[in-house]
Symmetry: C2
Subunit: 341 residues, 2 copies
Amino acid sequence: MPQNVTIKLPIPPRLNTGLAAARERNLEWMRQQKLVLGHGATHRYIFSAVADLAAYSYPDAEDDDLDLAFDTMGWFFLFDDLFDVPEGCKADAAVDVCRQLITLVTHPSQRETSHDAPLVSAFADIWRRAKMGMSEEWRQRAAHNWMDYLTGNLTEEVDRRTWIPEDFATRMRVGHRTLGLIPSLDLAERVGHFEIPQIIWHSSHLESMRRAAVDAVKLINEVMSLENDDARGDPNLVHCLMRQRNCSRAEAIRLAVTLVQTTVSQLFEQMKLVPLFCARLGLTSSESEKVQRYATALLTWIRGSYDWSRSNGRYSPRTASALSPKMTGQLHPANLTTVSR
Amino acid sequence: MPQNVTIKLPIPPRLNTGLAAARERNLEWMRQQKLVLGHGATHRYIFSAVADLAAYSYPDAEDDDLDLAFDTMGWFFLFDDLFDVPEGCKADAAVDVCRQLITLVTHPSQRETSHDAPLVSAFADIWRRAKMGMSEEWRQRAAHNWMDYLTGNLTEEVDRRTWIPEDFATRMRVGHRTLGLIPSLDLAERVGHFEIPQIIWHSSHLESMRRAAVDAVKLINEVMSLENDDARGDPNLVHCLMRQRNCSRAEAIRLAVTLVQTTVSQLFEQMKLVPLFCARLGLTSSESEKVQRYATALLTWIRGSYDWSRSNGRYSPRTASALSPKMTGQLHPANLTTVSR
């Protein structure tokens, strides 16, 4: 079982002690936002525990900040699932929601208006809270990163309608955008109440570190969801590796795990250069500390997404079906869309 | 002389018959916008003929459309040169302009206000004209692509202050953003009075074709400007190739030329799939024709940038110094910033 693959990571595990209480508050928010309606949907949402990812990835966030992290993670999964339509069908509703969201993030000065689709109005609420206390520069950058995430989902949708690229590099490139890690790292600044100045954020050094983190989290995701993806006929990077390396499934999984570990090693090497990087820019010790916190947030995310995926029902179809027979087949636990359409 | 390198390209050369008249009108605009002030600056600008690139890259544009293309190309080169400060200096003025431009493109609904820096007010003028007649979706996408271009320049600036990545792939990645080809391709739709629908523009197929075009144009630029860059101590991808392949300068140039040609071949292969791509999306023949025009615009840009660079004074320091002794040294013809600061 791929989801039982163990990946040794030289990063200590963390977990937010506010998990249980935040989970309750998040469920309440999901209901208020009409993202989770009815008994069945509530059960599925509680079982999936997708928003728990926030407790693993933002272990120090508290109160409103932790709620924002939970609500954002909950939103991510429902939005993602909206594109999950049967083969041969078009995810027109998802594309429409995506367009509304793009308009929302690209028009910062527009008055708040009511949005019909729950996924849009819920995002408007998250985005309003995310911007609180953050600089104009952070908002511009975060909006840009959301746009990349949203258009990445359009890319995946139009590719399904034409053909899905088979090579690892191209698929990884799209995966970088749709993973949602870059907006989640912006969120790490927001819930940590600090900011990386615009020009520093754009440096090749921090960009390379972010790329490493995205590579690692994406590959962990792929390995952990392989069995699930196979059961659903969804594409998975492990199959790209099998094709390109002409190797077995087991070998491709081992290769993916090695890639994760190599990437994490590289990230540690890049972290060693952070003090020199800060010195060259003439940063004060307080400014340097922010860069260091940002770098640590990358590692926390890698470890957090791994620990969460091992603890999580989303990647365990067998457990799921044992818990509730209704949740197999069309109402697959990995797909929560029935609650949001 | 690298700038005399010949690259065989299986793309017919084109040139806009309105070049001479458009050149005049562009000079007038540059003066109005205070981008070119005084006798010396005017001479340098005329000699550099940078905006002529528009005549090579948009061979069918006419009247206002051609003017928009010329003015955009003229603006590009002055903006680019603003970052061109002596080694060890910070391009603070350029960073400040960049920030103002980012605010300009990320606030679409903001009222037009007056901008102090000529490069900012000139861009506001270009951007206003570019948006004319284009859909909201095109504007969102074009603004996003401008933001990528602008932040790419911030990346290069902060890298200069810390360290410039040495490997080809990383440098190429930054080069993709700062080349300005993606906004220039958005402009191809604008001056051609057509649009690629949002979801189609984001397809991996068109994205791969764009990447191929950017790779080709970037490498042509690097080969053609090598001698110039060397004289100025500027980084050039040919040196990356020499380091990574442990080869001579001549071999690296040959390799770069081969890379251009391979990339163009791949682009032709990708173009052959365009009819299938359009069929899978169920496009009408009029919609398919737009995708075809967009694909042709990529080829025209590759050929145009090559022909322009061979005809252009920017890459010919010797010709330049023969013409005007003042234009060597600090007032290098490749650097027009003295006219804009």
